[in-house]
């Protein structure tokens, strides 16, 4: 097994472009003023700030509570989507929301089958509570989460024993990934899960239904019950690798190389599956800032919509934004299958390219049905387009810089507002803008 570790980024490498890259990945979009702040504070202090849960403003707490209340009272998943979007747009803890989304994708559970708004909200809260925490706690908690139990019960096939399905999900989808267990492991694990039931919307262990005999899983024998199986999965060497892959595909690159997966897996093993220390190591590493990794992700619909709205818009109509997400292929609370959203290049099809361009047009030329551009974009008196180029696109090739400059020149006779709209339209339609 490789001992290779992530190498820390040398401090003088944390320049303006590096700061922009870090923030783009750990937040939803990035504003020029945020880049300057990170540059001034330095990498370590910035990471400490982003990885530590900050208090939310009173206004945010009021807004969040009101939306949650509406969703519960009306039992409306549309309202719950608005609630989560509000959090993503306005929370002081963007990374925590991104991690919540990562877990939502990892433990993909759909409202389409669960059909219960409070249960979906509770599951979402669970992901948030353990977002950068101990994966042991998260996995154990998810295994008993009512929405998850309904989802897997609802998906329980009609031929095999329901718990074999559950055992398979835990191994294949939650902890280890395909190829790291045998069918025999699943059958034995299924015996251990007997008695695990859902009653009155909550987890219930029915001892009378439990097979208390000896089982052998991953070569180990014992009178295992469900929790013991989960622990065995957590101890399995495939677990940190599996998590490493998910983390890398969310924050670094759609196609991580083996050595990078191994390094992040090693970090997770060292941290005993505590996510925060491993993330800190990753985000402070030279690997994270490698040139190919800065252009290695394609924006998910959430990245695009939330990132653009948060940095550049106001008076946002949340349900309309949720609708855009759905049409782009990422309907919150309704992942397409238990495997979640594959992401990467799969986000980009003929129809979704057109929708992404239309989204930009709607913001810039629309009548405000979705949102209104922030007037600070042109009234702050700052000369552009360099700061915008860095914030929206990151480092670009010389030809692209030249094109942006050409377009900027061509808008010289426009008013500040017209000019801003024209240049933003230019930037937001470039292929580069779809890089995460």
């Amino acid at each position: 097994m490789s001992d290779a570790s992530l190498a820390p980024l040398s401090p003088h490498s944390f320049d303006r472009e590096a700061a922009a890259h870090l923030l783009r990945r750990l937040q939803f979009g990035v504003r020029p003023d945020e880049i300057e702040r990170a540059l001034a504070e330095g990498l370590d202090a910035t990471l400490e700030r982003l990885l530590t849960v900050q208090p939310e403003s009173a206004e945010f707490q009021r807004g969040e509570a009101a939306l949650r209340q509406t969703a519960y009272a009306a039992s409306s998943i549309v309202s719950l989507k608005s609630w989560w979007l509000y959090r993503m747009l306005h929370s002081s803890n963007a990374l925590r929301e991104k991690l919540t989304l990562l877990w939502h994708n990892h433990f993909a559970t759909s409202y389409a089958k669960v059909n219960n708004v409070p249960q979906m909200a509770a599951q979402n809260d669970l992901f948030r509570r353990h977002a950068a925490g101990d994966f042991h706690e998260l996995l154990h908690a998810v295994a008993r989460d009512p929405a998850m139990l309904v989802w897997l019960d609802g998906n329980a096939n009609r031929r095999r024993h329901p718990n074999e399905n559950f055992a398979r999900e835990v191994m294949e989808l939650f902890a280890l990934g395909i190829g790291n267990y045998t069918e025999h492991d699943i059958q034995e694990a299924a015996r251990a899960f007997t008695g695990w039931q859902l009653r009155d919307g909550a987890f219930w262990f029915n001892a009378a239904q439990h097979d208390a005999g000896t089982k052998t899983v991953f070569g180990k024998s014992g009178q295992f019950e469900g929790n013991a199986i989960i622990d065995l999965c957590l101890e399995h060497p495939a677990c940190p690798r599996f998590l490493a892959l998910k983390i890398l595909r969310m924050f670094v690159t759609d196609q991580p190389v083996e050595s990078l997966i191994a390094k992040v897996a090693a970090a997770l093993t060292r941290s005993k599956l505590n996510v925060k220390p491993a993330l800190r190591e990753l985000f402070a590493s030279a690997e994270f800032f490698a040139p190919e990794h800065r252009v290695g992700l394609i924006k998910s619909p959430v990245d695009l919509v939330v990132g653009t709205l948060r940095t550049s818009a106001t008076r946002i109509t949340l349900p309309a934004a949720a609708e855009v997400l759905a049409r782009l292929g990422q309907d919150l609370f309704e992942p397409p299958t238990v495997k979640g959203w594959e992401g990467g290049r799969q986000w980009m099809q003929t129809s979704t390219w057109i929708l992404r361009w239309n989204f930009a047009t709607e913001l810039i030329d629309g009548r405000g049905n979705l949102a209104t551009l922030r007037s600070e974009l042109w009234s702050d008196g700052k000369d552009q387009p360099d700061a915008w180029e860095l914030a929206y696109l990151g480092r670009v090739q010389p030809e692209v810089r030249a094109s942006i400059a050409m377009h900027w020149e061509s808008t010289a006779s426009m008013t500040a507002e017209e000019r801003a709209r024209s240049v933003l339209r230019f930037l937001w339609t470039l292929p580069e803008y779809q890089l995460g």
Binding site: T337, M348, W353, I354, S410, F426, L430, P431, L435
Partner: protein
């Protein structure tokens, strides 16, 4: 002809004449995208028409001469005098006049006795089986088309996209582990909203930036190529919308309008090569005759118009259209002048030139719990669509080897 035949016309559609005059050479990436994306004339399309509810195959392709048929259906049997005779044993339901014409033109294929072992008579379960091509999978997650695209999308000239039209949920058949196929209701899904005179996509500066060199295989390279391809598709559709002329009068029924959309998208040479539409209502447990007749009429008229339209645009050689349903219905009628869930049934394949009957018609006396036994596994039909027609490997879709039926 409704789509640009020459490269100059094509570039004019893109609004890129200024681009051509710059250096005299179009940027490398854009021209590469032109080659990759436009479906070449020999690229074939598959159109799937789902008949949801369980189509009564016995009253669709009628074994009018068999006593067992008439005896089992005193009220519902279609009589010899009413069927549109195809041969000495079978005739089509009288509503299927359009399909009869396709039969006469040698374009209608009929596959008999299609089903699978241990038939499931639950709509939900059996439709899952047809969509996933896997009777054994217990928690279906992906479909046969989705899995095909997962693999074929890797190759640069391969199948990349499928489209579902007029549905609320993406059909399981199209769900892949990686691929996300769009669902569309109308061509608005491909309508690029561009502010008059202000669209950056048409400026020299933008096009230069969007076609700069990138590292092959990088995400940026993929984004530039797919952007160019998508823009080209949107422009073709827009241009087509203005010039799409068809002397064909499509009926105003839902299916016909959806197939009309498909025809337009095929004519616009969108990258999608598999299209999925559905016609609902076939669960005829009671008072079957009038409802079934209306549905079959809708099917027949819609498919006829579609084929005629493709013919007019010189596209019909490229398109294979097939129907499928989650099961047939029981041989015996029930007490409500209807029929109940069955198992094996026939299906239609409309091809450029391979008409005729395929597979073995099931016996109407040796039944499986009151239903005709299947004689052709449906996966052999899928194998034919994939390997014989689309010329891609069927193994990802079917998870095993199934000899393609020679219906294609």
């Amino acid at each position: 002809m409704s789509f640009p035949a020459t490269r100059r016309e094509f570039l004019k559609v893109l609004g890129a004449t200024s681009l051509v005059s710059l250096n005299g050479l179009p940027p490398r990436c854009l021209s590469a995208a032109l080659v990759d994306d436009r479906a070449r004339p020999d690229q074939r399309v598959l159109v799937l028409i789902q008949l949801a509810g369980g189509n009564d195959g016995l009253n669709t392709v009628v074994p009018y001469a068999e006593d067992a048929y008439r005896r089992a259906r005193p009220a519902l049997a279609i009589g010899e005098g009413s069927v549109l005779k195809l041969n000495e044993q079978f005739g089509l339901h009288p509503s299927l006049t359009g399909l009869r014409k396709l039969w006469d033109a040698g374009r209608l294929g009929i596959v008999h006795g299609v089903g699978y072992p241990h038939p499931d008579r639950s709509h939900f379960r059996s439709m899952d089986i047809w969509h996933t091509a896997n009777p054994d999978v217990t928690q279906p997650q992906t479909g046969w088309v989705g899995r095909t695209l997962d693999v074929s999308a890797e190759s640069s000239h391969g199948l990349r996209e499928a489209v579902a039209i007029g549905l609320d949920r993406l059909p399981l058949a199209l769900v892949g582990n990686r691929v996300v196929s769009p669902m569309i209701k109308n061509l608005d899904a491909f309508r690029l909203n561009e502010p008059e005179g202000k669209s950056p996509l048409r400026t020299t500066a933008w096009q230069q930036a969007a076609s700069a060199n990138s590292d092959a295989g990088s995400e940026l390279d993929f984004l530039r190529r797919s952007a160019a391809a998508s823009l080209a598709s949107a422009d073709r559709l827009k241009s087509l919308g203005k010039t799409y002329n068809s002397s064909v009068d499509y009926p105003s029924t839902g299916l016909a309008q959806r197939l009309r959309l498909v025809a337009q998208m095929i004519a616009a040479e969108l990258p999608a090569r598999i299209y999925f539409v559905s016609l609902d209502g076939f669960d005829t447990h009671a008072q079957q005759l009038p409802g079934h007749a209306a549905l079959l009429s809708e099917l027949s008229e819609a498919v006829s118009a579609f084929v005629a339209d493709l013919e007019e645009h010189a596209l019909s050689q490229r398109v294979l259209t097939a129907t499928f349903s989650e099961f047939g219905r029981r041989l015996a009628e029930n007490g409500s002048l209807g029929t109940d869930h069955g198992a094996a049934s026939s299906l239609f394949v409309v091809s450029p030139n391979r008409g005729g009957m395929f597979g073995q018609p099931p016996s109407l006396s040796d039944l499986d719990d009151g239903d005709p036994k299947f004689t052709t596994d449906f996966r052999r039909v899928y194998a034919a669509f994939l390997e014989n027609w689309l010329q891609v490997d069927a193994a990802p879709a079917l998870g095993g080897q199934f000899a393609p039926l020679d219906c294609v």
